[in-house]
């Protein structure tokens, strides 16, 4: 449990928001994360991230006028690491119950303060054996365009596949079926899939 990276601070059935333990230590867009809500595990795809001031009313100010690099700003102002926070939003794409991966929404949302972990390559491979989750992504109401999110997710998953090209073709075929009647959108996503 040492590799936890964030903690749930807002939770809904379809998505949750988590705050990172380390500033800027945000999992990449489209990566698969999980949170444990015993006895089940909930899988989600990172769909949005932000770094803001910890106090909503207090906006950061520019401090680097006399510094040579951005890194130097942080070194000169070590308190910044405590005044800022990184958080991300993740779309729930499935859950694991009794050791079985189910690619649809869990019956209830996860709990606040649940730990969030990045998924291991093994878990990603296991999860990406089916592409039913694409349906949740296609119909999501995430802030970023769903095409971007789908492409990012598939690119992330491809990294751990033994045969990336075959994986992408299979995923692409599923996508074509889901987006039937919208050739232009399909084409745009496919264009973003090349590694």
């Amino acid at each position: 449990m040492e590799n936890k990276i964030a903690e749930v601070i807002a939770a809904g059935t379809a998505d949750f928001t988590a705050e990172c333990y380390e500033l800027y230590d945000i999992p990449p867009l489209g990566s698969l994360v999980k949170t444990i809500d015993s006895p089940s595990e909930i899988f989600a795809v990172v769909c949005q991230a932000s770094t803001t001031s910890i106090e909503p009313g207090r906006r950061p100010i520019a401090r680097g006028k006399n510094e040579a690099t951005a890194e130097a700003v942080y070194q000169a102002n070590p308190q910044l690491l405590k005044l800022l926070r990184s958080e991300f939003q993740a779309l729930v794409v499935g859950h694991k119950n009794d050791n079985k991966i189910l690619q649809y929404l869990p019956p209830k949302p996860t709990r606040i303060h649940g730990f969030v972990f990045p998924c291991s390559p093994h878990e990603i491979k296991e999860f990406s054996q089916s592409f039913e989750f694409l349906n949740l992504l296609v119909n999501s109401s995430a802030q970023i365009p769903s095409g971007e999110l789908i492409a990012a997710t598939l690119r992330e998953m491809t990294r751990v596949q033994p045969d990336p090209q075959a994986f992408l073709v299979t995923a692409g075929k599923k996508l074509v079926t889901l987006l039937s009647g919208d050739y232009q959108r399909t084409k745009a996503i496919l264009g973003r899939l090349t590694l």
Partner: protein, 540 residues
């Protein structure tokens, strides 16, 4: 040939109707380029298995925009993704038979289809076992005549069934009708109880024949089956020159010629209707040797009085006399025949021998029509008598007889068909155990009624629209077959359909003319002969 293994899954049924056939969506891992029109497939319906043929292959898109802005040709990835999903291949399959699943098809073999397979039924390439189920396996009554196009499976005909009806072999000149006929005749000789009587206009079936273009000599029936075939000839000299061992020389006496024979020759002899009428009157008046007597009539007062008595006009008589003169000039016509050719033919046929009648040099149509019609009529009468006797329960029915005629439209055209014996045989079919094997290149000239009575038709390439229509008249799926027929190669390919086959099949006839092919044909025969000899030796 494609590299697909038999029984390879191809796709699933997505739409269909009994009339138009079924639409099959191709699986994404089957390529349209591997499919071939004319291949046989099986469809695994929920309750039955269907056997059908691919009749069309097409490309489809789910979204018309793909056709408008297709992916770049260098974009292999997008093309791979779209293949089988948004762009797909589809097959048009015509289900023709049900081969298993219901009681009938299990007990009686493949049945014609009366329904379509349900949605999403799997479609596979037909396996060898399925093909065998449909096209049969060579056995005691089934004879291997060729292979369905592009396939190794043997197409086998049940010859017992085949010879129960009259059949036809059609095709343009030079498309392989003669080769096909030889194969079929051998089949009948080997695998059915029937005997053949062949009116061999071009001397091709009894002894040596030539292959197309005359490059090589090919063997014929008597050379392969000397114990089962007798060669009769009208032209002894010609036969001797060709080295044919003939069994009988046919001579025709004037007395053997009946008015019906003359009436059949009306067109060829350029006779008027009145002249034909006069023949009947002369026969009545002058008796059995009417022809000799009519020809001997001199231009005297007496003759004129006789003609007036029969109300035959002078010019009509001259017209007739000219025609009869043509017949008399035929060298095989003699005033009185020393032996009865019909009797002799009947003896051979009764012994189960097949008779080939060679015409030698007399290849003109007058001789052919006259002799074929005359002999066939007499033989038919004998058969009729025997059959009637057997119906009365006294004797066994005569051996079934198949009469082979070439240039059949000369006998069976709408004008003369009602008058020739062949018209009668074609119509009355097997009542008297006599059927026809008709060989012709102008099927459109044959009487429609006779065409419709034919049991099985085999046709090589035809390209005249009227001929194609005539051959295919009344066949279900005529339009599809028309495309198949028009696409046959000009040689060594044929389409068979009708009574003796469960469904229409384009096929390539088996080889003929090579030493191996002769061995294949006679192989079984020789073994049997050898066995019989061995048995005889053992007991002697």
């Amino acid at each position: 040939m494609m590299d697909n293994k038999p029984n390879q899954p191809l796709g699933i049924v997505v739409a269909g109707s009994v009339e138009k056939g079924t639409e099959v969506r191709l699986d994404s891992n089957s390529s349209v380029e591997d499919m071939v029109v004319g291949r046989y497939v099986t469809i695994e319906g929920r309750k039955r298995r269907f056997f059908g043929m691919i009749t069309d292959i097409s490309l489809g898109v789910t979204d018309q925009e793909i056709a408008v802005s297709p992916p770049d040709t260098t974009d292999i990835f997008t093309a791979a993704v779209l293949e089988g999903t948004a762009t797909y291949g589809s097959l048009h399959v015509l289900p023709m038979l049900t081969i298993a699943g219901d009681a009938n098809s299990i007990s009686e073999g493949p049945q014609p289809v009366k329904t379509v397979p349900s949605h999403f039924s799997r479609v596979n390439l037909a396996s060898e076992i399925d093909m065998e189920l449909v096209f049969g396996k060579e056995d005691a009554s089934r004879f291997y005549i060729g292979n369905p196009l592009d396939m190794e499976t043997h197409l086998c005909l049940d010859l017992e069934t085949l010879v129960k009806r009259s059949n036809g072999i059609f095709g343009k000149s030079g498309t392989g009708k003669t080769f096909l006929t030889r194969i079929l005749l051998i089949g009948i000789l080997q695998k059915s109880r029937a005997v053949n009587l062949i009116f061999d206009m071009h001397n091709e079936y009894g002894w040596m024949g030539t292959s197309e273009g005359g490059q090589r000599q090919v063997k014929a029936l008597k050379q392969l089956f000397p114990e089962k075939v007798a060669v009769f000839t009208l032209d002894e000299e010609n036969s001797r020159r060709r080295g044919v061992s003939t069994d009988f020389v046919v001579r025709i006496g004037f007395e053997d010629i009946d008015p019906e024979d003359i009436s059949l020759l009306r067109q060829t002899l350029n006779l008027t209707e009145a002249a034909v009428e006069a023949v009947y009157q002369l026969r009545r008046k002058l008796g059995k040797d009417w022809m000799q007597r009519a020809l001997d009539l001199k231009d005297t007062e007496e003759t004129r009085a006789l003609l007036t008595e029969m109300s035959i006009h002078e010019s009509t008589f001259q017209n007739l006399k000219r025609g009869l003169g043509t017949i008399r000039r035929l060298p095989f016509i003699v005033s009185r025949s020393p032996v009865d050719a019909v009797k002799s033919i009947m003896e051979y046929l009764d012994r189960g021998m097949n008779v080939v009648l060679e015409f030698g040099r007399f290849r003109d149509i007058t001789a052919y029509v006259l002799v074929a019609n005359m002999l066939a009529r007499r033989i038919y009468v004998r058969y009729q008598e025997k059959m009637e006797a057997s119906m009365a329960g006294n004797v066994a029915p005569p051996t079934p007889l198949v009469i082979t005629i070439e240039e059949a439209h000369k006998f069976l055209n709408p004008e003369v068909a009602p008058r020739t014996i062949f018209g009668t045989i074609a119509r009355e079919m097997r009542k008297y155990n006599v059927t026809l094997l008709v060989i012709d290149q102008r099927p459109s000239a044959i009487d429609e009624e006779i065409m419709s009575q034919m049991g099985t038709k085999i046709t090589c390439l035809l390209d005249n629209e009227r001929d194609i229509d005539a051959v295919l008249a009344g066949v279900s799926g005529k339009n599809e077959l028309k495309t198949v027929l028009a696409r046959l190669a000009p040689k060594q390919q044929a389409l068979i359909f009708g009574h003796a086959v469960p469904m229409p099949v384009p096929f390539r006839p088996r080889d003929w003319g090579t030493t191996e092919s002769y061995k294949e044909f006679t192989g079984g025969e020789n073994t049997v002969r050898q066995a019989e000899k061995d048995i005889k030796d053992l007991f002697d």
